[in-house]
């Protein structure tokens, strides 16, 4: 039990996807201009990442390994993830249009989010079992969500501040992310 808790703490704080693993940065910078969208995106990522982590785990352990075709990992994972995301999108659009308007619009963005593929590959590398993989994927997504939500609230606040022209937009966002990454370094060593 403590092990699982530690996986979460590690994924959220110590080895945060954004600030320590450097995964999923494009949507992190792209979808963080408004808090509301950031919250939607975080939810979508939590949903998809947990799902993708689970399914890729199954593919890896019951297909790729027994058949000895580990080198197809990348291509198989990305194919699965892409179809999965699109499938969810299509179904959600029809079945739950309100949810779609909240989350669905982020789904296409998620396909090209390396956090999904990256975390899936990492859980394989870390040799996690199924439960650990699910917790790890969920925790990483949670870390993404936390980082995204505080980041976007800061960026929204920056909208009302007088940023020098040369720094408006991406540069100041990078600097804020840098300072946040420094703050996150305080958690280093908490989970070995």
């Amino acid at each position: 039990m403590t092990d699982l808790a530690l996986i979460i703490v590690s994924a959220v704080f110590v080895n945060n996807v954004i600030f320590s693993r450097f995964l999923g940065l494009c949507p992190y910078f792209g979808v963080s201009k408004k808090l509301d969208t950031a919250i939607g995106m975080s939810m979508a990522v939590i949903f998809v990442l947990t799902l993708a982590g689970t399914i890729t785990y199954i593919i890896q352990t019951y297909l790729l390994v027994p058949l000895n075709i580990g080198y197809l990992q990348t291509i198989a994972f990305i194919l699965i993830i892409a179809s999965l995301v699109q499938f969810v999108e299509i179904v959600m659009k029809k079945v739950a249009p309100t949810l779609y308007r909240g989350l669905g619009i982020f789904l296409p963005l998620i396909t090209t989010n390396c956090a999904i593929l990256g975390i899936s590959i990492l859980s394989v590398q870390f040799k996690y079992d199924l439960i650990e993989t699910i917790i790890f994927s969920f925790g990483s997504a949670l870390g993404f969500g936390l980082a995204l939500i505080i980041f976007s609230s800061v960026r929204e606040a920056l909208d009302t501040r007088e940023i020098p022209k040369a720094f408006v937009g991406a540069p100041i966002a990078m600097i804020v992310a840098g300072i946040l990454a420094m703050a996150f370094m305080g958690f280093s060593g908490m989970v070995k």
Partner: protein, 321 residues
């Protein structure tokens, strides 16, 4: 009927109190004098050197920016000076000049001016610089001259000793030593009492309010106390924790930086609580011996959220008419 020159047009109100940005900033600087005096007494001329250099560097960097930017920057408004003094209080007294220069540049440029200058920054500039230095130069930033030891002997802070050598090594340090400054540490870290005395005037002037310091220190006390009760053989006492590692400096002067802390009552309490919680967490479980700077910096990022979701109650927000 003609006046001597044109009349002034402005929006109401046309009166003001005597408060001004400068007055606030210089007052805060002045209240730091007791703590500075203690550190000079403890560390000698080195402390003066660090103080003067850092203050000159921060104000100088800001003056340079003011010169080359086309927006109006008042580099003598005291905020850069204050940032400088607080930064100086966050480094060891034997810090080399180039480190202080880097710190000043980071504080003023990355911590403040890229956000648009005074009042626009999200993160505490002095802490951005301190954490930057801590991460960049862990060697210089974690070996401290011992107070009163003018021969250049260095050692770790009590928290550093606790982290690397375990609980046994700190048994000899008494509460009196901690409160009075007979411990290793940065300039401002060593005397909790002097800081408290200085800050009383700030409370009186309402430049700072009680919520953040009380919530901050209280949370650290409660959390470290809980672990102490569980296992006193492994964890240090809460009294040790609140008197070490610049907790007072952080709670009274840095977490309370008005620019980078929440505005509402609930926001302040939560902010203080968050600072305390993460400080305790990092101290108890992290690699870094000290968590105050990281915790405050981390919580700075939550200020917009706290402002937004925990505002004060408005007049007229009553249920039915």
């Amino acid at each position: 009927m003609e006046a001597n020159g044109v009349l002034i047009m402005d929006s109401s109100p046309l009166g003001r109190t005597g408060e001004s940005t400068r007055k606030i900033m210089f007052t805060v600087c002045l209240t730091l004098v007791p703590a500075l005096a203690v550190s000079v007494w403890m560390f000698g001329w080195d402390a003066v050197r660090v103080l003067v250099l850092t203050a000159v560097f921060t104000v100088g960097v800001e003056a340079l920016i003011a010169k080359f930017s086309n927006t109006k920057i008042d580099y003598l408004d005291g905020s850069a000076l204050l940032t400088g003094i607080l930064l100086a209080m966050n480094v060891p007294s034997n810090a080399p000049w180039w480190m202080l220069l880097i710190g000043a540049v980071v504080a003023v440029v990355i911590g403040k001016q890229v956000f648009g200058g005074l009042g626009q920054n999200i993160f505490n500039p002095a802490l951005v610089a301190r954490v930057f230095l801590l991460i960049s130069f862990p060697m210089q930033m974690t070996s401290w001259p011992l107070p009163g030891a003018f021969d250049g002997t260095t050692g770790a802070t009590p928290l550093g000793i606790l982290k690397t050598e375990g609980i046994g090594a700190i048994k000899t340090i008494g509460v009196g030593d901690l409160a009075m400054g007979h411990i290793g540490g940065s300039l401002g870290e060593i005397s909790a009492l002097a800081l408290l005395i200085g800050s009383l005037y700030l409370f009186y002037k309402k430049y700072i309010t009680w919520e953040i310091p009380v919530a901050f220190i209280g949370t650290v006390f409660v959390f470290t106390g809980a672990f102490y009760l569980i296992n006193p053989a492994q964890y240090a006492s809460p009294v040790f924790h609140i008197f070490t590692g610049g907790l007072f400096l952080g709670a009274l002067y840095m977490a309370t930086d008005m620019v980078t802390s929440p505005l509402s009552f609930k926001g302040k309490l939560l902010f203080g609580f968050g600072c305390g919680f993460f400080t305790a967490l990092i101290r108890l479980f992290g690699s870094y011996p000290e968590g105050v700077s990281f915790a405050i910096l981390f919580m700075n990022a939550f200020v917009p959220l706290l402002d937004r979701y925990f505002p004060d109650k408005k007049f007229g927000m009553v249920k039915n008419g």
